[in-house]
């Protein structure tokens, strides 16, 4: 159950734990040696305040540590992404 195909994850919606829509998943960054997942690369929703995220081109980066659940949507802990600002 916890093993997920990355192909199926792309374009999945990303929400924070308060129900705010953050955007859609574009990619995942991993450490090549260990395979540890580092960050989600997300195409932000238009009305999202992206000032507190690391940005590159049109994408924002969300630390994978903040991910709480990945099912039909991806839920990230709003506390964790806020304290990292």
């Amino acid at each position: 159950m916890e093993k997920v195909s990355v192909l199926k994850l792309s374009e999945k919606r990303v929400m924070d734990s308060e129900g705010v829509e953050m955007g859609v998943l574009h990619n995942i960054i991993a450490e090549a040696g260990t395979g540890a997942l580092k960050e989600l690369v997300v195409k932000p929703a238009e009305d999202l305040d992206t000032s507190k995220f690391r940005k590159e081109d049109e994408y924002i980066f969300i630390p994978f540590d903040a991910v709480k659940a990945i099912k039909d949507v991806i839920i990230v802990d709003s506390e964790k992404i806020r304290t990292r600002a």
């Binding site: 195909s5 990355v6 995942i28 960054i29 991993a30 395979g35 540890a36």
Partner: protein, 96 residues
Amino acid sequence: MEIELSSLYGQDLYTDRGIRVGKIEDVTVDIKEKRISGLAVKNVNPNAFSVGKRKGVIIPYRWVTAIGDIVLIKHVKRRVMESETEEETERTKESK
């Protein structure tokens, strides 16, 4: 080195003895462990893995030794693999 997982799609996979294994089609991740768990490989070279009628194999990420322009895995003897024998191969590895 950090990699974007989508950059792995379509990359060729070789063993460290230079045998072509196949082409990476997908990556599986373990959400709980926050880790890449395996590489789904298609167009499998029958000299590397016997897959029978199955479409491909899932190579455990532990086997990966290098990721650059191509991906290398530890050389394994030609063996019959189920499409999802990750658990099984894990056991055989531990029993060594």
